[in-house]
Amino acid sequence: MGKRSNWAIPYLIFLILFVALPLLLIVVYALQDGNGGFTFDNITRFFTDSDALSTFAVSIEVAIENTLICLLLGYPAAYILANKNLNKSAVTAILFILPMWINALMRTLATAELFNVMGFTLGKGTLLMGMAYDYLPFMIYPIYNVLLKMDHSYEEAAADLGATPVQVFRKVTLPLSMPGISSGILMVFMPTVSTFAISEFLTNNKIKLFGTIIQENINSSMWNYGAALSLIMLVIIGLTTLVLGGEDSEVEGGTV
């Protein structure tokens, strides 16, 4: 064994303790009944639990809506920030990223308070506004990065071949920024599906998300069902990653 591979040992221990073991525990708990016997009941229970199913649907819907809002707001912002003609200073870019430096919980609490003061009724509207505010930087940053590094000769070549500015954007800039868009979608969609704190604060628990149910189950010591729900969420996130991480051209059509 080479010496160099020894350097990996601390990371390996870390991975086993904090990633593999917890994952294994989730699987074990999810497949156990209250007395420690093996069962699929927890999983099948979810598919018959209309309450959980509808929350799940709402979660996915909110996540898709939030991702869409972030994409629609974030792409133009990233485009403007990365364009040297429109934005001459790096400070503006930092200002957009700045909210990421503040703890999400603090931001959410402050947002909720702001909505209260402004007299907004807490509900789906405030939930989406708050979420978009929370996750927008995660959409802007990867797209901004890709656009900033993009070789402008591609755009010039397209214009040279007769493409109008709109066609240049549609046929060259947009497809070439797909890697940024996919990682932006991943970074917004995944945490939105699993969040519970934001919906709790911003809707006064009026809207329950999938994360909320898991939290409630675990809080009320229903470890096995909670673990099963976590497992289901994990599978969904895994599938999203697979789809988005695959060929870029596939992203164009479906996922959003």
């Binding site: 070789d151 000769s153 070549a157 040279d160």
Partner: protein, 474 residues
């Protein structure tokens, strides 16, 4: 003008600055239909800027670009293209780093322009097949562009441009990224393509041999200005100034004196030549190509002698450096080798001597008189020879080339600058130094400097002669 027949692009008085830096100064040039024109010059000479302006990626500060234009009715007219965006101009570009779209395969890259124009699918197929055959890339339609070699990407880039049948094809150093062998092969292919297609090529390169091989017309550029326009033969045989002579091919550039018509003196001897009309006893630059010096241990009609200093085999010929009896160094090429240390005899035929008027015989620098002993020039105050007239204001300072001293350390001089251009004159170097104030100072020196060296510039007071501007407004 009778010379302006068949013109497809006419450029007049074009200037462009980026910030404080003027990259193009008053460029005028016309290009004929079907011509292979090369813009040739060292990096930073403005050739790419000029090409990008023709393509429409940059707008000129001053001057006009006129282009032949086919209106909707099929009528031809000449049109000022100012403000017309690149996608509407009747030309296509082959970019320096190819700029092939990485998200499209070879077929879709080439079809890009045709699809935008709404050309029917089967015609696109046919034209792509034809153009791929032309660049010898048949059967590569479905390949990913990333999987192609540099030379293959180059071919696809050319195919993508010419498939649109542009009136003019712009090529921005298209071969710069290829290795030598590939470059030579592509040169031949480009030349053939140009003949077959009959479209106008505007080609940018810094490689003089490439320019000589390919072009019908070469435009030599330096410092944002056109130095010479001519056929490769004209430019090689009759360079108009020492920059062109030095940049195109190998050459001996020597100081000389035009004694009278058809007689020039250099390296300590009088030579018959074919030039007339310079006047008598006028200082000139003389260019001798290394292959034009005849050399032998004994040579009939020999004009001067020398000692061989070095001899290197260059494949077909030998390259020798010979110290002449007058102490000048000459570069000579011959099919025979001559042993270092041996005495040789040499002669030069009258029509192989190219005589050029000197651009300048001394430094003339705009200055401002401060008092009778001081002038302000090159952004600094210099002590100078006493000025008798007693007046102040704008004037001109004359300083001979040999009286400008260069120092190793920038701080040691009165001002400082960067060695910009070096010319070996057989027994000394003629340097162009760009000062921190952005002006040029010309220096004769025996010391060896490198291009890009930062130097201090020192001029003794008695060597600065100030001349009044004679009340002229300037």
């Amino acid at each position: 003008m009778s010379g302006k027949e068949n013109v497809i692009i006419d450029i007049e008085h074009l200037s462009k600055s980026f910030g404080d830096k003027q990259v193009l100064k008053d460029i005028s040039l016309y290009i004929r239909k079907g011509e292979f024109v090369t813009l040739l010059g060292p990096s930073g000479c403005g050739k790419t800027t000029l090409l990008r302006m023709i393509a429409g990626f940059l707008q000129p500060d001053e001057g006009t670009i006129m282009m032949e234009w086919e209106s909707r009715g099929g009528q031809r007219e000449f049109r000022d293209v100012a403000g017309i965006p690149p996608h509407l101009r009747p030309l296509n570009t082959v970019f320096q780093r190819y700029a092939l779209f990485p998200h499209l395969d070879v077929y879709d890259n080439i079809a890009f322009g045709l699809k935008l124009k709404g050309v029917p699918k089967d015609e696109i197929d046919a034209r792509i097949r034809k153009v791929l055959k032309l660049v010898s890339m048949s059967d590569y339609e479905d390949r990913d562009v990333d999987s192609l070699s540099g030379g293959q990407q180059q071919r696809v880039a050319i195919a993508r441009a010419i498939v649109n049948r542009p009136k003019v094809l712009l090529l921005d150093e298209p071969l710069a990224a290829l290795d030598l062998k590939m470059r030579q092969d592509m040169q031949i292919e480009l030349k053939e393509m140009h003949q077959k297609l009959g479209i106008t090529f505007i080609y940018v390169t810094h490689d003089q041999s490439e320019a000589l091989t390919l072009s019908d017309t070469i435009v030599v550029m330096n410092e944002g200005k056109i130095q010479q326009i001519g056929t490769p033969t004209d430019i090689y045989n009759e360079p108009v100034n020492s920059f062109v002579a030095d940049f195109i091919g190998e050459s001996n550039i020597l100081n000389g004196t035009m004694v009278k018509d058809r007689l020039v003196n250099f390296i300590g001897h009088d030579f018959e030549c074919v030039d007339e009309g310079f006047g008598e006893n006028v200082p000139v630059d003389v260019v001798i190509r290394p292959e034009d010096v005849y050399i032998g241990y004994t040579l009939e009609g020999s004009q001067f002698t020398g000692t061989v200093k070095s001899c290197t085999f260059k494949g077909v010929h030998y390259e020798m450096y010979v110290d002449t009896d007058s102490g000048n160094e000459l570069q000579i090429q011959d099919y025979d080798a001559f042993e270092p240390g041996k005495q040789v005899q040499m002669l030069i035929h009258p029509d192989d001597i190219q005589v050029m008027r000197k651009e300048r015989i001394e430094n003339v620098i705009d200055c401002e008189i401060i008092d009778e002993n001081h002038v302000k020039m090159l952004g600094e105050v210099f002590e100078c020879a006493p000025i008798t007239s007693g007046s102040t204001g704008p004037a001109r300072a004359h300083i001979s080339f040999a009286k400008v001293d260069l120092m190793d350390h920038e701080d040691d001089g009165d001002t400082s600058g960067e060695v910009w251009f070096i010319l070996y004159k057989g027994d000394h170097y003629h340097l162009t130094v760009k000062t921190v104030s952005g002006e040029y100072v010309y220096v004769d020196t025996d010391d060896i400097w490198d291009k890009g060296d930062l130097v201090g510039i020192k001029i003794l007071p008695e060597d600065i002669t100030v001349e009044m501007n004679d009340g002229q407004e300037k």
